[in-house]
């Protein structure tokens, strides 16, 4: 291993770290006396500069070849670089959303925390080593706990952070315990090496130590992606956090965690899948492995997430439960054939993260001006902010999965991958049927939100002015969703091309 080249491959993360420290120091040294609003904007531009430089570095690395450092600790290939770019875009949009109004008076710390979280996500998508996966999940989580509790004088924020932390720390302990058992069973930490051990030893896939390890690891990942029964933190953390932070937790950390989970299951322990098929007429066939666990989590998440979302009165909580349901849909594709399932998941997670980020952007832009983030506060808001309401319609319809928006094709690919699972024997048809039925249920609450926005009697007050720093990113997101909806194969071909060059 050559340390100069290692530094070269880590340059993007180095730039982000440097930006975080520059922001921390500059805020204290130069801008302490300035007005909070002006400081907030200046720090936001510093952050954006750092993100932009890192994006340039990653773009240059595309041209270089693949690399693998220290047993999969750092894996550079087009797919990982692409996801790093996606994470930078999501982070940049979050920064734009926080620009208008400072989340708290500790501006420098806020942006530094966002950058640290982004570094955690970047490492999470780029590592194929259990050690690095654990450390980067912790870097990501610790930054997010702090961000959720950032408005510490507000009780909801502190309470949301407390709950997020308590659940997160327990699940980190589960994840770690699981990883240690997987290490014990396979005697290796890197995912490809773990996959190798299955080839030499046919009994490995049934080894109880390994299966316990996988089960505990899935508990840890289940928390990060917020699937039932590990979703309890999500509504509270989203409600307590400032809206841009909630959007960041719901999109960026989801992307990174899903990429890591997909790699862990399909790259590392794929042979230990087991089965959870129900073939026609009704002959269930369950064998131990991760498939029954994932199938169960997907099933309850889809049912419970959608049903619980119906009763919500707070828009952020509704989005939290909808994200639980979406996590369930995504898990369905894990059973698909390896390449097809991976493509479907990567496609959907990008579309979903952007859409969700846009929806939280609408909440950010409007909540203070309509007097809260309860759904009823947004009544008739289209008279006061017509452009933003149209954007909200695009985001909601895409989340619901209405063609020709990107969300429809995302769901279509997911469910198609689920159908093609089990060597075309339709063994996972039961999950796909649940997913389709539950998507139909989800129309109800997404349209309910739109009904409030458009139909309900208008709230008093004149037109709402939206800061360009929020209007433009949201418009761009809506455009991307439209474009992916019209040309879904473009993004699909990209992802497939990257997968072939892994």
């Amino acid at each position: 291993m050559n340390y100069t080249s290692l530094f070269g491959y880590l340059l993007g993360e180095v730039v982000l770290t440097a930006a975080a420290f520059v922001i921390l120091i500059a805020d204290v040294m130069c801008h302490r006396k300035d007005d909070v609003g002006a400081r907030n904007q200046r720090m936001a531009w510093w952050t954006l500069t750092g993100l932009f430089l890192a994006a340039v570095v990653y773009a240059i690395q595309f041209a270089q070849g693949n690399a693998n450092f220290a047993d999969g600790t750092l894996v550079i290939n087009p797919l990982n670089l692409f996801f790093k770019e996606v994470i930078l875009v999501i982070t940049a949009i979050t920064v734009f959303f926080s620009m208008e109004e400072p989340v708290s008076k500790h501006v420098g710390e806020y942006y530094a925390m966002i950058l640290f979280a982004a570094i955690g996500m970047a490492f999470l998508v780029t590592s194929e080593n259990l050690l690095m996966i654990f450390v980067s999940i912790e870097l990501l989580s610790l930054s997010l706990y702090a961000l959720v509790g950032f408005q510490k004088q507000i009780l909801r924020s502190a309470e949301g952070a407390m709950k997020y932390f308590a659940f997160g720390a327990v699940s980190a302990a589960f994840l770690l315990f699981g990883l240690s058992y997987i290490y014990g069973a396979t005697n290796s930490l890197s995912l490809p090496a773990i996959a190798e051990t299955f080839k030499g030893d046919p009994l490995m896939a049934r080894s109880p130590v390994l299966l316990i390890g996988i089960l505990f690891t899935l508990v840890g990942f289940g928390f990060k992606i917020a699937v039932v029964p590990f979703h309890l933190w999500a509504p509270d953390a989203y409600e307590g956090a400032a809206a841009p932070v909630a959007g960041f937790v719901a999109s960026g950390s989801k992307v990174a965690s899903f990429v890591a989970l997909t790699k862990f299951l399909l790259l590392g322990v794929a042979p230990a899948a087991g089965a959870a098929t129900i073939s026609f007429p009704f002959t269930p066939h369950f064998t131990p492995g991760w498939a029954p666990v994932i199938a169960l989590m997907a099933f309850i998440s889809m049912v419970w997430g959608n049903l619980a979302a119906i009763t919500q009165t707070n828009l952020k909580r509704l989005l939290a439960y909808s994200s639980v349901a979406h996590a369930g849909y995504i898990l369905v594709a894990l059973f698909g054939a390896k390449a097809w399932g991976q493509t479907a998941i990567y496609f959907y997670i990008i579309v979903y993260a952007l859409t969700n980020l846009g929806a939280f952007g609408v909440v950010t832009a409007l909540a203070n001006k309509v007097g809260g983030d309860d759904i009823r506060c947004f009544a008739g808001v289209w008279r006061r902010a017509p452009g933003l309401t149209v954007l909200m319609m695009i985001f909601m319809l895409s989340l619901a999965g209405i063609p020709p928006l990107a969300g429809f094709f995302g769901k279509f690919y997911l469910f198609a991958a689920g159908l093609a699972a089990d060597q075309m024997q339709l063994g996972y048809l039961w999950l796909v049927i649940t997913a389709i039925l539950m998507s139909a249920v989800s129309f109800y609450y997404y349209l309910q939100v739109l009904r409030v926005f458009y139909v309900n009697p208008a709230s008093r007050g004149g037109p709402i002015s939206i800061c360009p720093c929020q209007r433009w990113p949201m418009t761009v997101i809506a455009l991307i969703i439209f474009l992916i909806g019209w040309y879904p194969t473009a993004l699909l071909d990209w992802i497939q091309g990257f997968l072939q060059r892994v």
């Binding site: 510490k152 004088q153 302990a173 589960f174 240690s180 290490y183």
Partner: protein
């Protein structure tokens, strides 16, 4: 005396179970944090034992990372407790009940 791998794993599993029980049953958030540390240390023990019996060092390296991460985690956790105590004047998990369902 010969200590087998299963003995280490038994102790580690017991530590994990005690920690989990503490998290679930205790009401004081500070005690909950202490139990969390115990859960992390359970995996440290398992890793060190696996590392010894697999005759590989990377498990023990992971232990050092975990110790560091656990310290960082406590720092963030205590900060959150302090923030919550300032607005709520309590460290009891029963009274952190503003948001539900």
């Amino acid at each position: 005396m010969n200590i087998a791998l299963s003995d280490y794993l038994l102790v580690s599993a017991a530590l994990f179970a005690i920690g989990l029980a503490g998290v679930v049953m205790r009401r004081n958030t500070l005690v909950i944090y202490m139990s969390l540390e115990m859960m992390l240390n359970a995996s440290n023990l398992a890793l060190a034992a696996f590392s010894k019996f697999n005759a590989a060092l990377n498990g023990q390296i992971l232990v050092f990372f975990i110790i560091t991460v656990a310290a960082a985690e406590v720092a963030v956790g205590l900060a959150i407790i302090v923030a919550l105590f300032r607005v709520r004047q309590t460290v009891s998990a029963d009274e952190i009940n503003l948001m539900k369902y």
